[in-house]
Structures are given as C-alpha cells and as structure tokens.
Amino acid sequence: MATLGELVQALGPRFGVLAESSTSQLTVVARNGDVAIGDLFLLPCRRGPNPRMYVFRTTEYANILNRSMEMGDVARNKLTMPDSYFAEDLAEEQLVELRGMVLGYAEHDAISDSWSFNRPRRLPQHLTDVYRVEPSRPEAGEAVRELLRTQLGDRGLVIGHLLAGERPLMSVPVRLPVQALSHHIGVFGRTGCGKSNLIMVLLDGVLRHNRETHGPGRSDRKASIFAIDPHDEFRTWHASAGGADGIRGIVNSYSDQELTDLVAPFYYLTGRDMLEGPLEARVRISRADVTPDDLASILDFSEQQIAFSRQLFAEHGERWIGRLLAGDLGNDREAGPEYLPGTIAAVERRLGFLTHGNTRLVSRFDPEIGLQYESLLPDILCALECGRVLVVDTTLLGELEQFLLNTIVARALFALRRALRLADTPQRLRDEIFVAFGTDDPNGRIGQRALAEQLVARLNDGRLPYLDDVRVKFLEELPLVHILVEEAPSVLNPARMRFGSVFRDISRQGRKFGIGLGVVSQQVTEIDAGVLTQLNTQLTMALGNADERREAVRSASADIGNFMQELQVLDRGQLLLATSLRDIALPIQVPNFDFAEANSGR
C-alpha cells in the first residue's frame, strides 16, 4: 500500500490551502483555475498518530480576489473608470474559494499497511495543503481508489466510475454489492437521463457476476433479475443502429456449457409469436396463476370488491376468473355474505382485460372443457431460482398485463421461498408448496393447484433446484433475485399499497427471502412512503424538479443532503449512489453501454 508521501506525490501540484473547516464542511482558497461543482480533493494530514487523507467534495465555488476590495467594487471601477485595467499578478491575486463537504478520511494503519476509510469525525490540520484529483492523471485516480477502497467495493456489480467534477475517474470503478439486489433498489430519474442505459449496465453486471462465480468451488451466490422491458431494447440494445448488441450479444459469446448452465431455458420472453433465436420464449401465463391479491395490486378495488373476489377464489380456486367471466358462479356457493350485483359487475368489469381475445398474456383455464394449464410461470420461477437474467418484451402487452406479470412472478416467488423456509424434508417441502398456493385438499380448497403441481413436478425432476439430493437447501444457497418494477408509481403508489398489495409484503420481508425489488420511476414523490423507507440503495439520476430532489434526499438511506446542488446539475448517465451497505454516498458516471461493451473485449 502507498504511504501518505507517495500518495501526495501522485496527486501532482498543490491546488489550494484549507482556510476554514468543521467536521462537515471545509472552505479552501485556491489559485484561479477552471473548476466545477463536484470536484474531488484530498487533504493530507498528520494530526493524529497515523497519517490521514481527508476526502473533500466541492458543492460551491466563488471567484475571489486576494484580500482586496469586494468584487462589486472592482466591477464598478471597471465599468465607470476610463482606461482602467486589471494588472496581471504572478498568480495569487485572482483566487477561487470553494466550499464543500467532507466525505470522510482514510487512515493508514502501519501494522496492516492499509488505508481504512472513516466517517468525518475528526478535523484536518490548520492550513492543510489541498490537492485536486485530476481525472486526466491516472495516478491520482489510483490514489483515490486506494483511499476509498472500502467504499468503492472490490467485488460486486460495476455500475460506473467515480465522478470528479464533470469527468469520471476511469481507474476508480464503483461496485454495488450483489447483496444490494435483495435489499431493494430505487432508480429515480427523469426521462432521458439514462435510466435504460443504467439498467442495461446492471443486467450486464449480473451476467458477468454469474459467469465469474460459476464453476466448482465457488461459493458466491448467483443473482437473477426479472426485468420488464417496455421498449424491447435490452435484448439487442443498439445493434440495429450500429451500436452494441444487448444481452443477445453477450449470451452469444458464451460456450455451449455456459449457455446450459447460465442462460437456459431462456433469457428473453416476448408477447410475439414469432421468435427470432434460441433461448427465447413466448411469454404466457394462465388465469390459474392469477389471485385476487394480484389484481388488487394493480387495479383499484373497493373493499367489497376484493372481499367478493377472495370469496370467489376460496370457492373456485384457480378457476375463479373463468367462472366469473362466464357468469357461472354456481348454486352451490358456500355460506357467506351475499354481494350486490353491482359489486359483482364491477369486479367483472375490472377483469375485462383478461377475457379471451383481450389479452396476449393470460391463457384461459378450464380443464372441464379441455382448456388445460398453459403457463410459462413455473419455468420462469425455476429459471430465477437458477440464477438467470430474464428480460420480458412487453411491447405487445397492455400496461395492466405488464403489471400483472410482474406482480404474479414476484408473489409466486415469494410464496415459494416462504415454503422453502418452512420445510425441513423434501416431502414437507412438497406439502408446503401446495399450501403456499392455497391448495388444501382436506378442507376442500383448490387454490392454485395446477401451478403447485407443476412446481412440484419441477422440484422432483430438479428444474426447481431446492433439493440437494435428499436435503432441502437453505435460502442462502439460492440466487439473490431482483424484480424490476418499471413505471413503479402505477403499482407502488400509496392508494394501491393500502389494499394488501403483494409488494407490501415483499418490500418489508423480501430481503429475508433473498428477493429484492427494483423500483424504477421518474418521480420519487409518487412512491408509497412505506416502500421508500425499505429501499436500501438509491441510484438517483437527474430529477425533474426541486420537489423530486427534496424527496430523493429525504428518503435516501445515506445522508445526501449536501449533494442537493449536485443533483441539480447531474448530466445524462450521472447518478448519486446512496446505499446503507456503504458509509458514504458517491457520485458516479455510468458507462455508456455501447462503449463499455466495445471496451470489454468480450
């Protein structure tokens, strides 16, 4: 590890001198130069027993003159005095004053010869020299990487490079711990700020992670992502326009064995009937996969309507939608409350998008008339349990269908993992899977029997990898699963969360089961406060207005109040990473996937 002196040497000439300081804010007086908000500075210090290097980030710049009169007076003289000039001093007259926040300090431990990063609890010395981290100096980036090592992460998903001013430090990659995927992630940014590119980078990161951790003797957990792709861009990215290929290009570089182990049975699901390549599948679920709670998670339901739906589900189980849409509620209904015809009609109307011919996603289910269970859901769940990246092209699906698919996958996976946690033997696991999907034969409950049977069948043949021979696996042996919720305000708004949305439970308990949500939204204010508080990682990009920025700051899991001004000037592809898994928030430039892909040498 480099010593303090070596690090200082790597930083180049001194930029300025510390003028005033507190543990949270510093004022530095520096020579005149081209500077930008967000510039990164290092302050070497020998105040304590061990050498320290403070890391400081500017939030404000001002032009000043070296203890001469006020700038206003000078400007007035320039305006009103004929033949005046501004003499050129050797260097010291025109200065800049910069203020900013102390991110913390790295302290060198002589015994372990390593730098450890600390929150800003101690002050730097008076009149400390200040060095600017110049993105054009690779050795300066190396110094930052060494100092911030514990905050940058040396394992995990690379989501970009640390920003110094307006430019990224290419030698300082910032990684998101893989565990963040199961601790819920918020991705906030207005349209055009680079969210899609970020998600593409994230998907690429997960694929890389799985590839790197694949193989005998590797104990790292794999990761899965289920990503709705409303614009069908992640598969081919910009290949058609001459840019980088998307996930198709990545998986095409895999060996046959890797395709089997890391991609099969599919990575791309679509509503189109015509498939363009291998490892693609037509996405379809069955009415038998849908529960009243799924619908209440995506649609407005009154309490009466949801109660009626639940009663219907209790009576008819997986056939409840078919019965309702066919008007065949039967005369043998169990004793229970009677519902008004208006309530029944309202539920019918809400389920209108599931009627045959109205949906390309949901297939009919009525074994009595030969309509068997046709659903990709069991295979989707199995794939996610094997560590897969699944992108779902929803361009041909309606908005409600898109939300429904997301909801059902999340809920079913959550139910499966709960069942797994309850089981200690293979047989008990099979039983718990049935229970998890509402099937209770002794009490005459049908529940989602078809789905449960399919899952148990896959459990038995090994496609659902919950068994290790005769041992039931622990949750920790399964991949971390991340479910991206695009247009999150539509399903995670306060009104929807009120009526027992499946996302309510997942947001609160998902991390226990290794399932995390990815909340993607242009607005922070529209997301339910309960969900926001559960987000352990926020990737905040440029936001539309001050209200959104305030809310982003308020709900962040790390204190990013001092970044308020920087949030205002974030460019395309730049974001602020705040995560409870790290001590400090970091501004990051996400690589343009087109170039990142080209540079990866894959």
């Binding site: 003028a19 001469s68 000078v74 005095m81 005046s84 501004f86 050129e88 001093d89 007259e93 008076h126």
Partner: protein
C-alpha cells in the same frame, strides 16, 4: 462601555466644547492671500497617462501581529513584509515581474531582560534587512544629515532605541517599518535601473535632531536611499494623507488653478523656507518635507484624496528635479494607479500591502503555530492562557 454614553448630558457637553475649539482653531488658521496665490502658481498639471513602455513600478509594505503571543514577561512579535514589481504591459496594463523575492516573515522574542531583548531585536533587524546592523549604519548617509555629524558605529549602535518588551506600540512600529524598508531594499537591489520603488508612508526621520539616540529604521531608510541612488532607482514614500494644516487650502487652490470643480492630475512640490524662501506651513507646524527629503503633494484621480510623495532630497537634487523627470514620475504614478482594484492609487503598493497583510483567521492560526511550536519545545501550555479572555476582558 455602556451603550447609552452618547445620551448623557455631560458627555455631549464635552464633545460640543471640543468641537468649538476645533472650529476656532480652523478659523484662526492663516489665510494669507499672498501665500494662497503662491500655492496656486506652484501647482502643475500632468497628463492622464494610459500608455507607458518600459516602465517598472514596485511597491513594498509591512505588517505583523504585535505581539502575536505574550506570556510572563515575554512577548513574541510576528512581522511580515512583501515587495512587488510590475512592468507596463499593453494587454494587462501592468504585469508582475518575477523578482524571486519571497515575503519576509520574522518572529521576535523579547523578554524583560534588557540584554536579551536588545540582542533579539537587533538580530531580527539583521535577518529582515539581510545586512548586519553595522553594515546598514556604515552604508547609510543618516549620520551626515543628522545633528552632531558622524560618530563611530559602536556609538550609533549603542544609541539605537530598544523599547521594553511590553511596549507593543513602539516595538511594532520599529519592526513593521524595518520589515517594510527591508523588503524595499531587496527590491531596490533587484529592480532594473530606472525603476520606481514606493513604500507606504513618509520619509520622516523621527530622531534626526537628536545627537545620540536613533532608530534602526532611520538608518535603513537612508541606506535604501543610498542604494537606490547607486542603482539608478527612484525610491520614494507615498502617503495617502498629506498631514498639512487645514489652512493650506490645496483643493481650493487647484480648483482656482484649473477652473474645475474637482481637478485631477496635478502636483505641487512642497515649498520650504530654506530652499524656496517660503512655506505654507507655520513655523510650529509639521516638518514637511522631512529632513533629507523633498515632498510633493499630488492628486491622481478625483475619487482619491490629495496624497503626498517624499523623495530622497539628494537624489532629487542630482537627478530628479528637472521638469521632465518630475512629470515622468507623476505620469508613472498615474499609469500605475489605473488598476480596477484601487483606481487612483498605485497598484504595486496595494499589491504589496495585500500580500503582507494578515487576516484575522491567519493571525489566529499564526498564534496557534507559535504556541504549538513552543509547547513542542518544552514550554507548558498553561503559560499561554490568555488572561484577558479568561477574565472576560477580551
């Protein structure tokens, strides 16, 4: 002090009495018509100068913290001085020249012991001046212009005034002036021939009429004059106020001379009885010009006051009194006074002042540095407790 002081009747009465005396004194000042017309005749114009070539103008200024730290019977004084040199430049007006001179910084420890403080103060003088005290005394022409003529260097050295350590006012004046002149001396020895070097203040020699006692900076001032003459540099002291009695109606005379409400770009050499046969200053008034100097009063710009320039009289007699030379001097001052930061005042002096001046945070930091160093050397921190602050007097 209580805030209601200004409301008390006896306070207001005392102020009224004093103001009446001031007004009476002002009214009683000499208003000789002949004197006034001579003043008007003596005032000369010079050009508003916006173009200059091969012009070098330097400035020097000193400051410090007097004292920076006090403990027991000891006091530590910090002194700072800086000098700047600028060259005329068609793009920037003035462009600073790298002289390679660093700012002077000196710490002086004075104790209750006369022997210690004399040695310590003279050591500081020597470090600042860059020459030994004897070299300065011998090289200076001060003994030639003072009362009593030349005496041996040992006697002069023994007659140098060393104030008590606690006499911050006098110690401060000596250290600051010495530092300023020391910075100017370095500049004089560096600047190209023909350059102008200005210090802030006057060329007054306070003890020049005494036989035995003198101040080190008096010798140093004259040493600067000698060195400037040797190198062909014009050395002068510029004061922002002329310090003349109110009876000397300069503004009025300039108005009458040029027929403008606020005339600018004019100068006048201060007449003296010995040289010119008349003086606007009464015999018991201030000694202007000072011994060994020639004084000019001048105005650069309407927004700045009438200022005073003291030149070495010897230099003036030999090389500085021709109308052409004098005009060039004031045109140089005018050109150097067009910086937007201090329009109407020569920028090199302001630049030197800015470089040398200490802000309050810097004073605090300096004090901490001195105390930390002392503690590092073995002194106890308790020695440096500020009694005034501890007792609520600060």
């Amino acid at each position: 002090m209580r805030f209601d002081l200004h409301l008390r009747q006896n306070v207001r009465q005392r102020l009224a009495d004093m103001s009446s005396q001031m007004a009476l004194w002002d009214a009683g000042a000499s208003h000789s018509t002949e004197l006034y017309s001579r003043l008007v005749d003596a005032i000369q114009p010079f050009s508003h100068t916006t173009v200059a070539s091969d012009l070098f103008v330097g400035g020097a200024d000193g400051t410090g913290d007097f004292p920076v730290v006090a403990y027991g019977d000891s006091f530590v004084y910090a002194t700072v001085a800086a000098a700047t040199l600028y060259e005329s430049d068609p793009v920037h007006g003035l462009r600073e020249v790298d002289t390679g001179l660093n700012p002077l910084v000196e710490f002086t420890w004075l104790s209750g012991s006369a022997q210690q403080r004399t040695a310590s103060l003279l050591d500081s003088f020597e470090r600042l001046a860059g020459h030994s005290v004897d070299e300065v005394i011998l090289g200076s022409d001060y003994p030639e212009i003072r009362s009593g003529g030349r005496v041996d260097v040992g006697t002069v050295r023994a007659g140098l005034i060393v104030p008590p350590a606690h006499d911050a006012g006098n110690v401060g004046v000596q250290l600051r002036t010495t530092a300023e002149l020391a910075a100017a001396l370095r500049l004089i020895e560096t600047a190209p021939p023909g350059a102008f070097v200005f210090t802030d203040g006057t060329m007054t020699l306070p003890f020049v009429h005494r036989n035995r006692q003198s101040l080190f900076f008096e010798h140093l001032r004259r040493y600067c004059c000698v060195r400037a003459r040797e190198r062909g540099v014009t050395f002068a002291a510029l004061s922002k106020s002329h310090g003349l009695p109110s009876g000397v109606r300069l503004d009025e005379a300039a108005r009458d001379k040029f027929g403008q409400s606020v005339p600018e770009h004019w100068f006048l050499r201060m007449p003296e009885a010995d040289r010119d046969g008349w003086s606007p200053v009464p015999p018991d008034g201030p000694r202007v010009p000072p011994v060994g100097a020639v004084t000019y009063l001048f105005r650069l710009h309407r927004t700045t006051p009438v200022m005073r320039l003291d030149l070495d009289a010897h230099h003036w007699e030999v090389a500085g009194k021709s109308p052409e030379t004098v005009r060039r001097l004031f045109e140089a001052l005018d050109y150097a006074g067009h910086d937007q930061r201090c329009f109407g005042y020569p920028y090199p002096i302001k630049a030197a002042h800015d470089r040398a001046s200490l802000s309050q945070p810097e004073r605090v930091a300096l004090k901490k540095l001195v105390v930390d160093a002392a503690i590092g050397a073995g002194l106890k921190r308790s020695l440096f407790r500020d009694a005034s602050q501890a007792t609520g007097h600060a």
